[in-house]
C-alpha cells in the first residue's frame, strides 16, 4: 500500500510528461517561414532555453522586422549565450554575430567578428563555430578599412584555415579564399591550392564542382602544367556531358592544353 501514493504521483505526472513530449514548438512553423505562427507556438511550448532561443529566432523572421524586435532578440541571445555552453548557447552566440553582421541598420563588422572569435575560442570544433568560421573569413577578406591591401586581406583569411576542423567548413573556406583571390585580381596561381583542396575534400555540390574542375584546369593550363590540366578537363567532360562548356573544353584539349586559343 505504501507504493500507492508513489503510483498515484507517477500517474499524476504522466499527462505532464505526455504534454511536454507533444508540446508544440515553433520550429516547424519557422521552417515554413510562418514567423507569427512560430511565435504563437513557442509561447505555448514548455518554457526553457530552447523555447527562448526559438522565440528570438522567430523575432528576427517576423515581417516587418523592426529595430525593436532585433534589439529584443539580441537581448535574449545575449542572456542565453552568457549562461551556458549547450547547443542553445552556441547558437545564440552565432546569432549575435549574425545580428551585428546582417540585421542591424548599420552593420557592425567588428562586433560580428568579436562574437565569431569568441565562439571559435570557446567551442572551436562545434557545428556553430565551424559555421561561423567562413562568415568571419568574409569579414577578414572584405574589410571596411581601405588601408588593408587585398594581399593582406587574403592572408588574414588564410590564417583561419588552421581553425577549420569540419570538412564542410574547410571546403567552404577554400572556395571563399579562391574567389577573393580572383575578385582582387591577384595572380590566379594563388587560388590553385584552394581550388585543389576544395575539390579533394569532395563536398562540392554538383554545379560548383563543374566550375571548380574547369577553374583548376584553366589555372593549371595558364601556369603551363598541361598534363594536370588535361586530367581535370577530362574529368569535367566525363562528369558533365551536358554542360554548355563541353565544346570549349574539347577545343582546348584538341588544340593542346596550355597553348591557348
Amino acid at each position: 500500500m505504501r507504493r500507492a501514493p508513489c503510483l498515484l504521483l507517477l500517474l499524476g505526472t504522466l499527462p505532464l510528461v505526455a504534454r511536454a513530449a507533444d508540446a508544440p514548438t515553433g520550429w516547424p512553423a519557422l521552417m515554413r517561414l510562418k514567423a507569427d505562427d512560430a511565435l504563437r507556438d513557442f509561447a505555448a511550448a514548455t518554457p526553457g532555453r530552447e523555447t527562448d532561443f526559438g522565440r528570438a529566432v522567430a523575432l528576427l523572421a517576423r515581417s516587418p522586422v523592426t529595430p525593436e524586435q532585433v534589439a529584443e532578440a539580441r537581448g535574449i541571445f545575449t542572456r542565453l549565450a552568457d549562461s551556458g555552453t549547450d547547443d542553445v548557447a552556441q547558437g545564440a552566440r552565432y546569432f549575435l554575430g549574425r545580428i551585428a553582421q546582417h540585421h542591424l541598420e548599420t552593420a557592425d563588422p567588428a562586433e560580428a567578428a568579436r562574437q565569431y572569435r569568441q565562439l571559435l575560442a570557446e567551442h572551436g570544433d562545434s557545428l556553430w563555430a565551424q559555421t561561423a568560421l567562413t562568415r568571419l573569413a568574409l569579414l577578414e577578406l572584405y574589410p571596411d578599412d581601405p588601408a588593408v591591401t587585398p594581399a593582406a586581406a587574403v592572408a588574414a583569411g588564410e590564417r583561419l584555415l588552421a581553425q577549420a576542423r569540419l570538412p564542410a567548413a574547410q571546403s567552404e573556406l577554400h572556395l571563399v579564399l579562391a574567389d577573393a583571390i580572383f575578385f582582387y585580381r591577384l595572380p590566379a596561381a594563388e587560388a590553385l591550392p584552394h581550388l585543389l583542396a576544395a575539390e579533394r575534400l569532395g563536398r562540392l555540390d554538383r554545379p560548383t564542382r563543374a566550375d571548380v574542375l574547369v577553374q583548376i584546369a584553366e589555372v593549371l593550363a595558364l601556369g603551363g602544367d598541361a598534363a594536370q590540366a588535361r586530367k581535370f578537363y577530362t574529368t569535367f567532360l566525363a562528369e558533365y556531358p551536358l554542360d554548355q562548356r563541353n565544346f570549349m573544353v574539347r577545343e582546348k584539349l584538341a588544340a593542346g592544353v596550355g597553348r591557348g586559343r
Binding site: T25, G26, W27, P28, L30, M31, R32, L33, A35, A38, E50, F53, G54, V57, A58, L60, A61, V65, G91, F95, R98, H102, H103, L127, T131, T134, R135, L138, L141, Y142, L166, A168, E172, L175, V176, D179, F182, F183, R185, A188, D205, P207, A210, D211, V214, Q215, E218, V219, L222, Y240, L242, D243, Q244, R245, F247, M248, V249, E251, R261
Partner: protein
C-alpha cells in the same frame, strides 16, 4: 406570340446562365469524385500549338493514370505574375505552376526537388534513358537558371523546352530575287543578300524590305550579335576562369572599367547592328511583333527576326514555303571583323526553359511529381514537340520536322554573356538606347555617348538592390536552417547548417565593395 428584342435578350441570358451552371456543376462533380486525385497545373504559353500539346500530354497521362485528373490552367502572360502571386498567397495556388527564377518568393512558395531529380524517371522504362537520373535526362542537366536557383542552392524548376532565335525567310521570294532559296552562309553573303533585295524592291517599285523586326524581337538580335561578337572580350573578362560569365559579373566588371561599348569587339558588334538597322523595316523600334509578323506574312519583308516559340505558328498562317537560318556572324575569314572573331560560334549556352515549380503546400506532392516525370519523359517530350512544334528538352528526343530548323547549335564557342541583359535596370536602359543607334540623327558614336553617360548609374542601383536582396536571403535562410536543425531530434540533427549558399553571401561583400569604390568610368 411576337418575339421582341427584349425577349431575345432574356433568352440569351437564360441560355448563358444554364450553360454556366452546367459547366460549374460538371466541374464540381469532377472535383468531387473521391476515386481520383485532381492536380492543377498552370502556365502562360497561350500559343495554340502549346496548349494543345499540354492537353495531349494530360490526356495520355490520365489514360495511364486513371486515378489522377490534371486540370490545365492556361493564363495569359499579361496577368500571369499577379495571378499566380495572388493564388499562392491566398493558399489556392496550383499544385504545379510555371514560374521564373527572377520572380519573388521562390523559397516561400515552392519546394526544392533536389532528391526527386536524382531518381530515375519511371516513365523512361524501356527507353535509352531507363535508369538514368531524372536530372541527367534534361538537355542541360537542370543547370539552367529556372531549375537550379543559385541564390538558394537548390533545384526547383523542371524545364520542358528550349528556344533559339532565327532569321526566318520566304523561300519563294528569295528564289524569285536571287535564283536560289539557299540562306546566306557568311556575314558578307547576308550583307549582299540584303542589298540585292533592296535593289529588287527599287527596280520593281515594291514595298519590300529585307528584314522585318519589332521592338519585341530586335532585342534577340542585339543579344545574339553582342554576345557572340564579344566572345574574345568574354574570354579576357573571365577572370574567375570558369569559361562562363554571369551577367552581374559583367556588370561589376563594367563598374571596374574593364570593358565598355568602345571595346573593339563590342564596337564591331554595334557596327553589325547598325547595318541591320538600315536593312530592317523603317521604324521597327516602335512596332510590335504582330506588325513584323503581318509584314512577313504579307510578303512586305523577305526575312523576319523570330524566336522559335513564335515561329511554331508560321506553318499555319504562311501561304509560302519558309526556311530559317542562324544569323551568320562574321568569322575569322571576314575581311573587316576577322581579326576580332572567335568562331565557330554556338548559339549561346545550352539551356532549357519554361520552369515548372512544385507548390510548397500541395497536398498531392507524389501525383504532381509523377505528372512532371511523365511530361518530361521520352514519351511526354515527343508528344510535346510533335504537337507544339517547340523544342524538346529531353535528351535524345528529336524535335518535330518544323522545330528541327530551330535546333540550337551547341558545337561552338558560347559564353553566357550578352552585354545587354546585364542587370534589371541596366537592360531596359541599354535596350532603349538602340533607338539612338538606328536613328538617322544618332548613330554609333551617339549611342556610345548615351551609354557612357547613364549605364554605370543603372548598374550601381541594381547592384545595390542585389546587396539588399542578398542580405534578406541570408536572414531568411539562417532562420530556416536553424529551425530545421532544432526541429530534428537531438540524435538526428544535421552535421551542417544549410544556410544560404556562400556565393550569395559573398556577393553582398563584393558588390558592396564595388559600390563604395571610386568610379573609373567617370574619373
Amino acid at each position: 406570340m411576337k418575339i421582341t428584342r427584349q425577349m431575345v435578350g432574356f433568352i440569351l441570358m437564360g441560355a448563358a446562365y444554364l450553360a454556366a451552371t452546367y459547366t460549374i456543376v460538371r466541374r464540381s462533380a469532377q472535383e468531387a469524385r473521391t476515386d481520383r486525385v485532381t492536380i492543377r497545373f498552370s502556365q502562360w504559353q497561350l500559343e495554340g500549338t502549346v496548349r494543345k500539346a499540354f492537353d495531349a500530354i494530360i490526356a495520355r497521362y490520365e489514360q495511364l493514370n486513371p486515378r489522377v485528373h490534371v486540370v490545365h490552367l492556361a493564363v495569359p502572360d499579361t496577368v500571369y505574375l499577379p495571378w499566380i502571386q495572388t493564388q499562392m498567397v491566398g493558399g489556392t495556388g496550383p499544385d504545379v505552376a510555371e514560374y521564373v527564377w527572377i520572380w519573388p518568393d521562390i523559397a516561400r512558395r515552392f519546394q526544392p526537388l533536389d532528391e526527386d531529380i536524382m531518381q530515375p524517371n519511371p516513365y523512361n522504362r524501356g527507353t535509352p534513358l531507363e535508369g538514368v537520373a531524372w536530372r541527367d535526362t534534361n538537355i542541360d542537366g537542370f543547370s539552367n537558371d529556372d531549375s537550379y536557383i543559385k541564390s538558394l542552392g537548390h533545384y526547383y524548376g523542371i524545364t520542358v523546352t528550349s528556344h533559339v532565335n532565327r532569321i526566318v525567310y520566304n523561300r519563294e521570294l528569295l528564289r524569285r530575287i536571287t535564283g536560289s532559296d539557299a540562306p546566306p552562309r557568311t556575314y558578307r553573303d547576308f550583307v549582299a543578300l540584303c542589298a540585292r533585295i533592296q535593289a529588287y524592291a527599287k527596280a520593281h517599285d515594291l514595298n519590300l524590305v529585307p528584314v522585318g523586326a519589332s521592338q519585341d524581337t530586335f532585342p534577340f538580335l542585339t543579344y545574339m550579335v553582342m554576345g557572340t561578337m564579344g566572345a574574345g572580350l568574354s574570354e579576357r573578362l573571365d577572370v574567375r576562369h570558369r569559361l562562363q560569365i554571369y551577367q552581374n559579373q559583367l556588370a561589376s566588371q563594367y563598374l571596374r572599367g574593364e570593358w565598355s561599348f568602345e571595346t573593339p569587339e563590342l564596337q564591331a558588334g554595334l557596327e553589325v547592328l547598325e547595318h541591320l538597322g538600315t536593312v530592317a523595316t523603317p521604324g521597327f523600334v516602335q512596332r510590335r511583333r504582330h506588325s513584323a509578323l503581318a509584314d512577313f506574312v504579307s510578303q512586305r519583308t523577305a526575312m523576319v527576326v523570330m524566336p522559335s516559340w513564335e515561329a511554331s505558328s508560321l506553318p499555319l498562317i504562311c501561304t509560302f514555303d519558309i526556311g530559317a537560318f542562324p544569323f551568320p556572324y562574321p568569322l575569322q575569314d571576314d575581311p573587316v571583323y576577322g581579326a576580332l572573331a572567335r568562331g565557330p560560334y554556338g548559339e549561346g549556352p545550352r539551356i532549357s526553359v519554361m520552369g515548372l515549380y512544385l507548390n510548397r503546400t500541395t497536398p498531392h506532392r507524389a501525383e504532381a511529381i509523377d505528372f512532371l516525370q511523365f511530361l518530361t519523359s521520352v514519351e511526354g517530350s515527343r508528344i510535346f514537340t510533335t504537337v507544339s512544334n517547340w523544342q524538346p528538352a529531353t535528351v535524345g528526343v528529336k524535335p518535330s520536322g518544323f522545330a528541327a530548323q530551330f535546333t540550337q547549335v551547341t558545337e561552338g564557342w558560347a559564353w553566357a554573356a550578352t552585354y545587354i541583359g546585364l542587370t534589371i535596370d541596366a537592360e531596359p536602359f541599354l535596350r532603349t538606347r538602340f533607338s539612338t543607334l538606328w536613328n538617322a540623327n544618332g548613330g554609333l558614336k551617339a549611342f556610345q555617348r548615351e551609354v557612357k553617360a547613364g549605364l554605370a548609374a543603372r548598374i550601381r542601383d541594381d547592384l545595390r538592390r542585389e546587396v539588399v536582396s542578398g542580405i534578406h536571403n541570408v536572414q531568411r535562410e539562417d532562420n530556416i536552417a536553424v529551425a530545421a536543425y532544432f526541429a530534428a531530434p537531438p540524435a538526428a540533427r544535421p552535421a551542417k547548417l544549410e544556410l544560404v549558399t556562400m556565393p550569395n553571401e559573398v556577393k553582398v561583400y563584393q558588390f558592396g565593395r564595388l559600390l563604395t569604390a571610386p568610379d573609373p568610368t567617370h574619373p
